[in-house]
Amino acid sequence: MLLSSITLAIVLISSNEITLAAPPPLPTGLEPESTGAPALPAGLSPDSAPSLPTGLATPKTDAPALPAGLSSPPPLPGGLAPNASPSLPAGLGSTPALPTGIEQTQSNPADVEEQDDTFNLFSGDEPFINVSGFWDIRGGVRTQNDPYQDQFSLGETRLQIGLQKDIGPVAINIVSDFLYDPIALNQHADLQTGNGWVDLREANIAFSPLSFMDIKFGRQILTWGTGDLIFINDLFPKDWQAFFIGRDLEYLKAPSDALKTSFFSDYGNLDFIYTPWFNADRSITGERLSYYNPMLDSLAGQNAIVESERPDAGEYALRLYKTIAGNELALYGYYGFWKSPFGFNPSTNKATYPKMRSLGASVRRPVWKGIANIEVGYYDSYEKGAGTNPFIPNSEARFLLGYEQEIVQNFSIGVQYYVEWMQDYNGYVSAQEQIGARVIRNEVRHTLTNRLTLMTHQQNVTWSLFTFFSPSDLDAYFRPSVSYKVTDAWLLETGGNFFVGKHEYSFFGQFVNNNNVYAAIRYSF
C-alpha cells in the first residue's frame, strides 16, 4: 500500500515534468513567480532547452493511425504522455523551435533587458536635421499638332529638398524645388507663380502656443474638403497647368503664404487661415497649354497669353469641423476672390480676379462598404456690378456627391457627381447677349468622375485612370497613368492627359490640342 503510493508518486513526479511545464492556473502577468527568469517558468527550460534548438522538441513519431484532421482528444490524456508527441495530429510533423528570445530569457535574461534599452532599428534616427526629397526627370509630348504651342508639353528636371528640424517645441519645415525647365517661356524666378529655377513649396514654422491651439506660419500647402480632384470649399491655390501636363499630383496644390491658426475642443475644431496677399491659382495662361479665348472666339495659346491683374488684398478661410459617430462634419467660409481670372477688365484688356466669398458644408462617412461624401458650397460673386456686368462671373451654387470603395483586393473605384449651378442665369444671358458673346454657357454644368486604381506586383505597380465627363458640356478628360516602384528609391511613371469635347469652348473641350503623353523617372531619398 505504502510502497505503491510511493511508486505512484515517483511515477507522477517523473512524468509530471511535462504536466508541470504547463504552469498552474496561468498566473496573471504571465510570469512564473518561482524563478527570476521573466518569461519562462523553470519547468520549461530543462524540459525543452536541450531538444528544441534543432527543432526536435517532439521526435516525429508520425503516428500513422491518426488521419489528418482527426485530432486526438485535446489535453494530455492522463497527463502521462512521455514524449508529448502522441497528442500531435498526423501531418503536423514536429512543432516549431522556440524563438531566440525565449531561449535567451532562460539563459541570460540580463542581456535582453540591456538590449531593450539600446536597440534601435532606425538607422538615421534623430539626425541634426531631417533631409528628404527626390530628383525627378520628366518629359512629355503632344499627341497632335498645336499651332500655338511647342510639340513638347513637358521637359524638366527638378530636385526637391525637404528640411525638417525641431527646435524645442517649434518645428521648422522647408521644402524647395530647384528645376531646369527649358520649355517654360518665362525663366524669370517668381516665387508666387512658381516660374523659374526655384519653386519654394514650403517654408514654415509650426508650434502649439496652447494645448488647444496650433499655429503654422509661412509658406505651406493647404488642403481641406472632401472631393477627389474636385474642390468646392478648398479655395487654396491650385496649379492647373501642372495638373494637365503630367507633373506629379503633388503639384496640383500650389503653396499658400499664410498664417494658419487652429483651435481644438471637444465641441468642435476651428481652422482660421489668413493669407495677407492673394494667392491665385496657377491657371492656364496659354503659355504652355492652349485654351479657348472668347475675344478671339477660337483656340489660342502663345499668340494670346492671358495677362491678369492680381488684387492687392488678402484672403480669409475658415473651417469648423467635428466628427460625430464616424460622420466627419464641416462648415466652411471664405472671403477673397475667384481663384482663377474669370473676370475681365476691358480698359486694361487684362483678366481679373473678381471678389468672391463663399459658404459651404461637407459630410463624409462610411456607407455600405465604402466612403461617401457630400459637399456643397455657395460662391457669392459680390464684385460691384456682378449680374449685369458681362465681365464678372455670376454667383454659383456647387454640389458634390461621391463614393469610393475597394471592389476586390487592391482594386478600388471612386465615382463622383458634381454640379455647378449658375445663379441669376437670365441676367447672365442678357449681359452676354449685350456684348454679342458667341458662347453662352449652360445654367447647370454637370460632371461625373470615375477613378479606377489597381495595384499589382506586390503593390509596386499602380495602374490608374481618372475620368471627368460632363454630359451637359459634352466633353471629357482622361488621366491614365502607370507607375512602377523599381526599388524603394527608383520610380518609373508614364501617363497621359486626353481631352475630348464637342465644342472648343467647353471646359475640357478647349484643351483638345493639349493631349499629351509623358514619362518620368524619380529617385527619392
Binding site: P38, P75, L88, D116, L121, D166, T223, N410, Q458, D488
Partner: protein
C-alpha cells in the same frame, strides 16, 4: 522518510490534478493569444522595420512607428473584457517616397474599421474605405489582418494537440468563401501564449504561408514577439518584421488619434 515521500507524492498528485484541471479551454487559449498579440497594456508604441524579400532576393524596406491605444480599460481575459476597439497611428519614415505619411485606423470589433491616410505633400487627409483585410500591408507578406488582428469570431478554433511547449490550435473560417485559406494552425507557446508559428493552408489543403516568431523579449512585463517572419511558400517571397523601442503603457493620449495629429505628428511620441 516514507511519510515525507508520501506527502510529496500526494502533493504531486494534487499538483498534477490542479494542472490538469487548469489546462485552459481552447477558447481561453485563443483569447490569451489574441491578447498577447494585440492588446497588451493600455497602450503601446514600437518602431517597426520590415524587410520584404521577393523570390529573386530583391529587398525593399519599410520603417514606421506604431502607436496604439485600447478603448477597453482592462486587460482581463475573463469574458473577453480586454477585447474591444483600438486606435492605431502609423507614421512612416521609409521608404523615402512615403516619408511623413500617416495611416490611422480606428479598429472596430463589430463593424468595419475607420481608416485615414495623410499625404503630407498634398496636406490631404484622405479617408479610405475599409478594404479587404486580407490585402497585403504596404506590399509586404503581412496582411492588414496580421497587423491589426483577426476577429476571433471569424474562425472556429480546435485544440488539436499539445506538446511540451505548445498548444496546437486549428482555426477554420466561419465564412470560408470570404478568405483565401481553408484553415490555419497556430503553435501557441504554453506559458506566454505567444503564437510562435502559424501555418496557413489553401483550399487545396496545401500549406502556402507561414509566420514564425524569431525573437521574443519581455518588455514592461509583457512577452513580446520582436522579430517575426512571414513566408509565402507559393511566391517564394518573405518579409522580416523587426520591432524596436517597444514600450507599453506609455500614456498615449486619446486625442493623438485625430486629424490634428495627422497634420501635425506628435514628434515626441514618434522618437
Amino acid at each position: 522518510m516514507s511519510i515525507k515521500q508520501l506527502t510529496l507524492g500526494l502533493s504531486a498528485i494534487l499538483a498534477s490534478s490542479v494542472a490538469l484541471a487548469a489546462a485552459p479551454s481552447v477558447d481561453e487559449i485563443v483569447n490569451r493569444t489574441n491578447y498577447t498579440s494585440y492588446y497588451q497594456g493600455q497602450d503601446g508604441k514600437a518602431k517597426v522595420k520590415m524587410t520584404i524579400t521577393d523570390s529573386q532576393n530583391r529587398t525593399r524596406n519599410r520603417e514606421f512607428v506604431v502607436l496604439r491605444r485600447d478603448i477597453p480599460t482592462t486587460d482581463a481575459i475573463e469574458n473577453n473584457a480586454y477585447e474591444g476597439d483600438q486606435k492605431m497611428y502609423v507614421y512612416f519614415n521609409r521608404p523615402a517616397d512615403v516619408n511623413k505619411m500617416v495611416f490611422m485606423v480606428l479598429k472596430k470589433i463589430k463593424t468595419d474599421d475607420d481608416r485615414w491616410l495623410y499625404l503630407p505633400a498634398l496636406d490631404l487627409v484622405k479617408r479610405i474605405a475599409a478594404s479587404d483585410k486580407r490585402t497585403s500591408f504596404v506590399g509586404s507578406d503581412f496582411l492588414y489582418e496580421d497587423i491589426s488582428g483577426r476577429n476571433l469570431q471569424a474562425d472556429t478554433h480546435t485544440l488539436i494537440g499539445t506538446d511540451a511547449n505548445y498548444y496546437i490550435v486549428e482555426n477554420k473560417p466561419v465564412a470560408a468563401d470570404e478568405v483565401e485559406f481553408s484553415r490555419y494552425v497556430m503553435y501557441i507557446h504554453k506559458t506566454t501564449f505567444l503564437p510562435i508559428s502559424t501555418e496557413y493552408y489553401n483550399k487545396q489543403g496545401e500549406k502556402y504561408k507561414t509566420y514564425t516568431a524569431l525573437a521574443v523579449e519581455t518588455i514592461n512585463g509583457h512577452p513580446t514577439i520582436t522579430k517575426s517572419e512571414a513566408k509565402n511558400l507559393k511566391t517564394g517571397g518573405s518579409t522580416l518584421m523587426e520591432y524596436s523601442s517597444v514600450e507599453y503603457d506609455v500614456g498615449i493620449p486619446d486625442d493623438i488619434f485625430s486629424e490634428r495629429n495627422l497634420r501635425k505628428p506628435p514628434r515626441k511620441l514618434l522618437r
